[in-house]
């Protein structure tokens, strides 16, 4: 299947989960990553159960915050 990862089209096997994608994409600091799937944010606890489909669009973001 073809999915779009951070703007790039990529081929992945059917049945690939979000958790597997994060591992295969070698995402830095995966514990801090926020994932959007087709513009909806996915809770980190659901990464392992979220099976990707052909045409899915995935973006990885990192929390940005601080204090004063």
């Amino acid at each position: 299947m073809t999915i779009i990862v951070a703007g790039d089209k990529k081929e992945y096997a059917e049945g690939t989960t979000l958790a597997a994608l994060i591992e295969k994409e070698n995402i830095d600091s995966p514990q801090y990553v926020t994932v959007s799937l087709n513009d909806d944010f996915v809770e980190s606890g659901a990464f392992a159960d979220t099976v990707l489909k052909d045409g899915d669009n995935i973006e990885f973001l990192y929390f940005m915050g601080g204090g004063a």
């Binding site: 929390f63 940005m64 204090g67 004063a68």
Partner: protein, 137 residues
């Protein structure tokens, strides 16, 4: 290592910070990097979803939209900015603790004095390194 920022974008950061008072303001910066020179070409004023004078968190939906806009424009994410309404332009303990990207530029604008003060940093492993900002017309 040096950051190039034009006055229009500097004023955009200042205006965003002043309009957010008494809360902290925040946003993203994007542009291009050439060796150790960073050219800011786009400033994205975004919403501080903490709505606090002491904390900020960038709205993730606006962050996502900004990242897509950067990609469409062919510019690279360079880092973020936030304001300190009443404290100096240096990373707080919380800023240092929450800085997760050693490659990011962290710009802090202080409004504590009459004249706004903008400074830039990189933060890696709890260590803070200041970076010069060159304001350009």
């Amino acid at each position: 290592m040096r950051i190039h920022l034009n006055y229009d974008d500097f004023n955009k950061i200042v205006d965003h910070a002043k309009s957010a008072l008494p809360e902290e303001a925040c946003g993203l910066i994007a542009g291009r990097a050439e060796a150790d020179e960073f050219y800011i070409e786009q400033v994205y004023p975004l919403t501080n979803i903490d709505h606090s004078s002491e904390h900020f968190s960038i709205d993730p939906r606006e962050q996502l939209a900004a990242v897509k806009d950067m990609r469409a424009k062919g510019i690279a994410p360079l880092g973020n900015f936030h304001s300190h309404p009443e404290t100096p332009a240096r990373p707080s303990d919380e800023d240092i603790r929450l800085a997760q990207d050693p490659k990011a530029l962290y710009l802090i604008l202080s409004l504590a004095l009459e004249e706004p003060c903008l400074r830039a940093f990189r933060i890696e492993g709890g260590k803070v390194r200041g970076i010069a900002i060159e304001l350009e017309f």
